[in-house]
Amino acid sequence: MRQAGIYSGMMWGKKPCPHSLPLSRIKKIMKKSGEDVKMISCEAPLVFAKACELFIQQLTVRSYKVSVQANKRTLQKDDIITAVKATDVFDFLMDMVSSASVAGDCMKPTRERTYGFMLKE
C-alpha cells in the first residue's frame, strides 16, 4: 500500500487524501488530555494527523542519528531517550521516556511517575 500518490493526488484535485492516522483516535486522545476539553472542531484532528507525522519523523530522524553514531542499524529505545534529552522541544517527553513504564499500563504517565515506586515493588 503505497502512500506516495496520496498527497500529490490531493494536489491535483483528486479525492482527499486518506490520513495516515485515524482522526477518531486523535480526537479521543485530545478529549482525554483534560477533564474540561469540551468541543473540538473537525479540523483540529486533521491538523494533528499531519503534525503527528511531522513529530514522528522528527523524533525518528534524531533518534536514528544516535543509532548511526553508535554504529547500529537498529533504532532502540535508548536512542530515543538520548534524542529526547538532546532536543529542547522534546523536554515534555523526558519523564515519560525515562520511566521504566512500558506500553500497556493504562495509567497516565504522570500517575506512573507518582506511583512507579510502588508498582516496582
Binding site: S24, G34, V47, E53, I56, L75, K77
Partner: protein, 234 residues
C-alpha cells in the same frame, strides 16, 4: 472522564487501521482499568509506516522503540491540546479549533510545524470547498472573499463565505498576514506533501543519506538540527 470505561467504538476514522496488535507486550496484567490500549495510542502499524519513510531501508526498529514512539505521539497530542484548551478557556470559547492547535504548537516550540501545517490545512479547505461547490453547482471562486465577521477577526480561509454557506465551526483564521497567505496560494501547486511526495525509494535514500551523515562529507548535524520540513519543496 472515566478512565475505566470500555470504549467499543470503532477507532479507524479516515483510513488508518484501528485496533492492530497493541496488546502483545504482556504488561497489562493486574490493571484495574479496562480502557483499551487501542484507544490511547495511534495504531502501531501507522506509526511504523511513518517512521519508515525517513529511515533507510536497511534500518531496523526494536519493539520497545516502536512502543515508545507510540507513547510519545499520544503525549504530544495531549501536551498540545492542553495548551490549546487553556487558550480557549481564557478566551471563553468552547471549541478547540485548528487555529488554537497551531497557536499552541508555536507557543510550545513547534513553530517549525506551523507553516507547513497551515499550507496543508489551506489546501484541504480549498479542496473541500471545490468539492462542495461542484456538488451544488456553484462557481468556484479562488479569490479571497470579503471579510466575514468572525470570532477572531478577518477570516482568511476561502472556504468561508465563498458559497455563502453558513459555517458550522467556530470561525478560525491563521495569524498569517496577507502577503504570507498569497505566497502560499501561489506556491501551493509547487510544493505539497511532506514526505509522501517522494515517488521512489531512491529519492528517499538520497534525502536521508544526508540527514544521517554522508561518510564522505562528514557530519550533518546542521541538517538534523534544521530538520527540513520542506525537503520535497526543493
Amino acid at each position: 472522564m472515566n478512565p475505566c470505561s470500555n470504549n467499543n467504538s470503532g477507532g479507524g476514522g479516515g483510513g488508518g487501521g484501528g485496533g492492530s496488535a497493541n496488546n502483545d507486550n504482556g504488561s497489562g496484567a493486574g490493571n484495574q482499568c479496562t480502557v483499551r490500549e487501542q484507544d490511547r495510542f495511534m495504531p502501531i502499524a501507522n506509526v511504523i509506516r511513518i517512521m519508515r519513510k525517513v529511515l533507510p531501508t536497511h534500518a531496523k526498529i526494536s519493539d520497545d522503540a516502536k512502543e515508545t514512539i507510540q507513547e510519545c505521539v499520544s503525549e504530544y497530542i495531549s501536551f498540545i491540546t492542553s495548551e490549546a484548551n487553556e487558550r480557549c478557556q481564557r478566551e471563553q470559547r468552547k471549541t478547540i479549533t485548528a487555529e488554537d492547535v497551531l497557536w499552541a504548537m508555536s507557543k510550545l516550540g513547534f513553530d517549525d510545524y506551523v507553516e507547513p501545517l497551515s499550507v496543508y490545512l489551506q489546501r484541504y479547505r480549498e479542496h473541500e470547498g471545490d468539492h462542495r461547490g461542484s456538488i451544488r453547482g456553484e462557481p468556484i471562486q479562488l479569490k479571497r472573499p470579503a471579510a466575514v465577521a468572525s470570532e477572531g477577526g478577518v477570516d482568511h480561509s476561502p472556504a468561508v463565505g465563498v458559497y455563502g454557506l453558513p459555517q458550522l465551526q467556530a470561525a478560525y483564521h491563521f495569524p498569517a498576514t496577507e502577503p504570507h497567505h498569497h505566497h502560499h496560494q501561489q506556491q501551493q501547486h509547487q510544493h505539497f506533501g511532506f514526505y509522501g511526495a517522494s515517488a521512489t525509494g531512491g529519492e528517499m535514500g538520497g534525502y536521508y543519506m544526508g540527514v544521517y551523515g554522508d561518510p564522505e562529507t562528514g557530519s550533518s548535524q546542521e541538517l538534523v538540527d534544521n530538520f527540513d520540513l520542506y525537503a520535497h519543496y526543493k
